[in-house]
């Protein structure tokens, strides 16, 4: 063990250089100085190793020791992850708070998973069965929402020689597997996995189902698939975080991993206080019971911020392997990229664009590639997904900067947030003309079968009206509204209705905050129905003016339709009838005037 102690020769912020550590491997975890600060080897150069330290390095100096653990940076996986709040290297912040008080002291050590807590383990396999990696050995009720399946660890297969039912801690042996060579493997519920390594699966598949978020502009127009990737770039104040929070609250994934990466402390507090109170519309249980939080706020050490997204995605992969649909939110990936830049700068690497390291693009792409719909390992033929939604914070709102550009090259859905819309308090401030989703065609079948045959057509019509609006507005700006024909003004009115009554959605209103797919369709259908009825009427009678159409009470009914509760959706049919009635009486009224 003697050779496993090195000596610090240089300290520069979070980067420490040491020598004398023979046999050290790239990405091994080391403990720096007697304070035992956690660090990771990020460069090997002859006898010298470079370490990024996950904690503040004040008071550390040359000559102090460095110990290697010989293991790569890993997370602990097992029952107890859900409802936890971890920092970037999976230290539980609630435990640290109880142990150390309000500030995060250095060198503090806390178990990622509680080693004393006992869980009820129910076997799903019998002694003597043949199992392969990924097979479900048994199940633990982790929360009222989550059945935590204990899987055969990756790399192990063979015959189950024992399996026990009962209450166990995560480190008790619950089963034994004899492999081909006759070796017996003791299986605990706790498993470890290095964060920078993708967990294996059998096969990647193309996404077929939408991730329903209850957010109208997203679900109807710019849908993300289960297993898909999306990014939300926007300048500050445009509502990135609210979009991320809304998605993690309402989307119909079974497990949520939320990574607060280099962002505000109070936002994490908000999540912590609010999630246990919120009820999941799909299950009726508190949302916190399906959520894992990773919080490495902006004032916490920068190297741990770099690690936080890997910690998060590894946990997501673990639940995917059990067969769940997992959604991962990373807020914000720009802060992660900046952490890379800072470390790279301290290493005196040759910088790429704007000082970011040349490998920025590769890192971003390989992070998003850990998402997807897959056939998991195991003989049990399971499919599961990870959807990844990353916020991007472009400096000055300038989308040409490297993080945004590299992200856009990778992700399939782009929700473009505009501060212009935010100033008008149009939320979510997602620009309907710039955003896109590359999943729409793939998902059409789902919408047509599950929601309505009309869905795709209605959506197309609505989009067409919005496109037309932007062209007409150009004309209005140049020549004035009088230059437009009646029909064009109707288009403007309908576009306004789509914007204000459909796209605009109030995250803080009890009913408006979540809209089911069915209701989304009914709402949009109603607007288009009104538009077409009005258009037909105006076609038939040249006397009817746009103002008359605007003053129909139906317009107000449409505007209020967002507040119709989910259990009263039959009201939409009634509004349609009202529209017919009102237009009918409008026509007869006009006729009477003529006579």
């Amino acid at each position: 063990m003697q050779q496993n102690v090195g000596k610090i020769i240089k300290v520069s912020g979070p980067v420490v250089i040491a020598d004398g550590l023979r046999g050290a491997k790239m990405y091994d975890v080391v403990k720096v100085s007697e304070k035992k600060l956690t660090g990771e080897i990020i460069e090997l150069n002859g006898d010298k190793i470079t370490i990024q330290v996950y904690e503040e390095t004040s008071g550390i100096g040359p000559g102090e020791p460095v110990y290697t653990t010989g293991l790569p940076l890993s997370v602990e996986l097992g029952p107890g992850l859900i409802q936890s709040i971890y920092d970037g290297i999976q230290r539980p912040l609630d435990v640290i708070y109880q142990k150390e008080g309000v500030y995060i002291a250095r060198g503090v050590n806390a178990e990622s998973l509680d080693k004393l807590k006992k869980w009820d383990f129910k076997p799903m396999k019998r002694k003597g069965e043949k199992v392969v990696a990924g097979d479900r050995l048994g199940v633990v009720q982790e929360t009222s929402l989550v059945n935590h399946y204990i899987l055969v660890p990756i790399g192990i297969q063979g015959e189950l020689v024992s399996i026990n039912e009962g209450t166990f801690t995560v480190i008790d042996v619950i089963a034994e597997i004899k492999d081909i060579s006759g070796k017996i493997h003791e299986i605990q519920m706790l498993q470890k996995w290095p964060v920078r390594k993708t967990r294996p699966y059998l096969e990647k598949l193309s996404p077929v189902e939408p991730l329903i978020t209850g957010q109208r502009v997203i679900d109807t127009f710019f849908t993300i698939a289960k297993g898909g990737t999306a990014c939300v770039p926007g300048p500050f104040g445009s509502g990135k975080t609210v979009v991320q929070h809304q998605l993690s609250k309402w989307c119909n994934a079974e497990i949520i991993v939320f990574i607060g990466c280099g962002e505000r402390g109070n936002e994490m507090t908000d999540v912590l206080l609010e999630f246990p109170e919120l009820i999941d519309p799909n299950t009726g249980k508190p949302l916190m019971e399906r959520t894992v939080l990773i919080a490495n706020t902006s004032n916490m050490p920068v190297a741990a911020r770099e690690a936080s997204v890997y910690t998060g995605i590894t946990i997501a992969e673990y639940y995917r392997d059990m067969g769940y649909n997992v959604a991962l939110m990373a807020d914000s990936t720009s802060r992660w990229a900046e952490a890379m830049r800072e470390i790279s700068g301290r290493l005196e690497e040759m910088p790429g664009e704007e000082g970011y390291p040349a490998y920025l693009g590769t890192r971003i792409a390989s992070f998003y590639e850990r998402s997807g719909r897959v056939k998991t390992l195991a003989n049990e033929d399971r499919e599961a997904t990870i959807s990844v939604i990353g916020a991007v914070s472009p400096p000055g709102g300038d989308l040409s900067e490297p993080v945004t550009q590299n992200t856009l090259r990778t992700v399939q859905v782009y929700w473009s947030l505009q501060d212009k819309l935010a100033y008008k308090r149009h939320f979510p401030a997602i620009d309907w003309l710039r955003s896109y989703s590359l999943y729409l065609d793939q998902l059409s079948k789902f919408f047509e079968e599950e929601i309505s045959k009309e869905f795709v057509i209605i959506r197309k019509k609505a989009m067409g009206i919005l496109q037309e609006e932007s062209e007409l507005e150009e004309t209005v700006r140049l020549i004035g509204i009088d230059a437009l024909s009646r029909m064009e003004r109707l288009t403007l009115e309908t576009a306004r209705s789509i914007r204000e009554d459909f796209l605009h959605q109030n995250a803080f209103d009890e009913i408006d905050t979540y809209t089911s797919m069915k209701k989304q369709f009914l709402m949009l259908d109603l607007i288009i129905y009104f538009h077409e009825r009005a258009k037909d009427t105006m076609d038939e009678s040249s006397e009817i003016s746009i103002d008359q159409i605007n003053h129909l009470t139906a317009k107000n009914q449409i505007a209020r339709s967002k507040f119709i509760p989910e259990d009263q959706l039959d009201k939409f049919e009634k509004i349609k009838n009202d529209i017919d009635q009102q237009i009918k009486s409008l026509i007869s009224e006009n006729k009477r005037k003529d006579e």
Partner: protein
């Protein structure tokens, strides 16, 4: 076991390099004694086996390689704190400059602080009444928030900040705020204005002021806000006080940071500012907040001047990404003589939703706020249209919006420097301006509130038609 060396090998801008050293630690406090006996302080920025890079807070002029002595003090920078600091004025490094006695330390605190555990935070949700309508109604400040003022040269940010400091209070409780004020590189006039204003109103009794003027050492500005925040943390979390921290001007702070970074020949990020500017600012701003089971709180109002009023400049940009909103001042309003010239539309308070409404301010607050925002936005748009096409091209509706937005600026935004409006009054003025619009345009307000709060004048107008 203080180690003393005379082995300075290089002096470069604010940095010196000391060689042949041993057992020096990262971030350690350093004292340099010049040949004439003057003492200056610095901090270790980088340390390798036999040399240390040290940044000097009071500049390197007059340092000679041969005779200056360097002592490594074996600790990081600390300041003495005690309740006696209230009412006192210090320089940017924390030394008294008001001819008063030194501070008898109750304890000494490391100015760098420790990262606050996000789990230990309590969510800020106590409404602070500043008496300024455009802040209270539209960009509500809550206790424990960090809300910067983005200003430009020549705009009255000092007046706005001192008005906030003077008037801030929490409704229903008689608690007022203690103020910790840190000036970085501002002019004598500006600092005199604050000191005088605080003295005149008696606010000085519960204030602590740290002053680094424009002609004081630039590098000192790197520690001034840290000292101020350490003092604030002591007052808030150990003495249960509600503390309002004003940091002005953050632009000068960032420039000092850039100077050090350039001297170290680091790879720069945007506009020459170091790549770690975001992290560095975050370690300051994130020290604001509330903590579970503690009575006190830190509310932070940093002021920064945007070069060329450009919000996308790295300093306002990165600040906006960390703080919980921003108050932006508009030159256009200022030129038209409107005080406070708060640019409503791009200003934002992210924490407002939890601080307003029934039992906090008034039930209609959120509705009124949303309506004012969207109506004012519409009014501004119509005005723009009018400048291109002429007033005649506007629809009747648009004309009403133009009138509304003028009235809104005149009655609602504009108020006196010493006018302290309570929240009821501010909301009522809001209603008064909204009454100029047709009732069916008030889509964002619930009917019951319209019944209850809308002044009846508009109804009469319609009848008169």
């Amino acid at each position: 076991m203080i180690k003393e060396y005379t082995t300075i090998t290089e002096v470069n801008g604010p940095l010196i390099i000391v060689s042949k050293i041993s057992d020096v630690k990262y971030n350690e406090l350093v004292e340099i004694e010049l040949s004439d006996g003057e003492k200056r302080r610095g901090q270790v920025l980088e340390i390798s086996e036999d040399k240390a890079i040290v940044q000097l807070f009071e500049g390197t002029s007059g340092i000679d390689i041969a005779h200056s002595k360097v002592r490594f003090l074996g600790k990081s920078i600390e300041i003495p704190v005690s309740l006696e600091m209230l009412g006192r004025i210090f320089d940017g490094s924390g030394r008294p400059i008001d001819n008063g006695p030194g501070i008898l330390a109750e304890k000494r605190l490391d100015i760098n602080g420790n990262p606050l555990n996000p789990y230990a935070r309590d969510y800020p949700n106590d409404f602070i009444q500043t008496g300024i309508s455009s802040i209270d109604v539209l960009n509500t400040l809550v206790r424990g928030q960090k809300l910067p003022i983005f200003s430009g040269s020549g705009l009255p940010h000092s007046k706005v900040a001192s008005q906030i400091a003077r008037q801030a209070k929490v409704l229903g409780k008689e608690e007022t705020f203690s103020v910790v004020f840190a000036a970085m590189g501002i002019t004598f006039e500006e600092s005199y204005f604050f000191a005088n204003d605080f003295r005149r109103t008696g606010a000085i009794e519960k204030s602590v002021m740290y002053i680094n003027l424009a002609n004081d050492p630039a590098i000192e500005r790197i520690i001034t806000p840290r000292i101020a925040l350490t003092t604030a943390e002591y007052l808030a979390f150990e003495k249960d006080m509600h503390v309002l921290v004003i940091l002005t001007d953050m632009t000068n702070y960032c420039e000092a940071l850039r100077e050090v970074s350039a001297a170290r020949k680091e790879v720069p990020g945007r506009r020459g500012y170091p790549g770690y500017l975001y992290t560095d600012l975050a370690t300051l701003y994130e020290r604001a907040g509330r903590i579970k089971n503690k009575k006190g709180s830190i509310t932070l109002v940093p002021i920064l001047s945007m070069p060329e009023d450009d919000k996308t400049h790295p300093i306002p940009d990165l600040t906006g990404y960390i703080t919980e909103g921003q108050i932006i001042l508009a030159r256009e309003l200022h030129l038209r003589g409107i005080y406070p010239p708060i640019n409503i539309l791009p200003s934002l308070s992210r924490l407002k939703d939890k601080g307003i409404g029934k039992n906090k301010t008034r039930e209609d607050h959120s509705n009124v706020m949303n309506q004012l925002f969207s109506s004012y936005a519409r009014g501004k748009e119509s005005k723009e249209l009018a400048t291109i096409l002429g007033e005649a091209a506007l629809t009747e509706e648009d004309k009403k919006y133009v009138k509304f937005s003028d009235k809104f600026e005149e009655l609602f935004i504009q108020q006196g420097e010493h006018e302290n409006r309570d929240i009821e009054e501010s909301l009522n003025i809001g209603w008064e301006t909204l009454a100029m619009l047709p009732v069916n345009e008030l889509k964002r307000i619930k009917d019951e509130y319209i019944q209850k709060y809308l002044p009846k004048i508009s109804g009469e107008d319609e009848n008169n038609k």
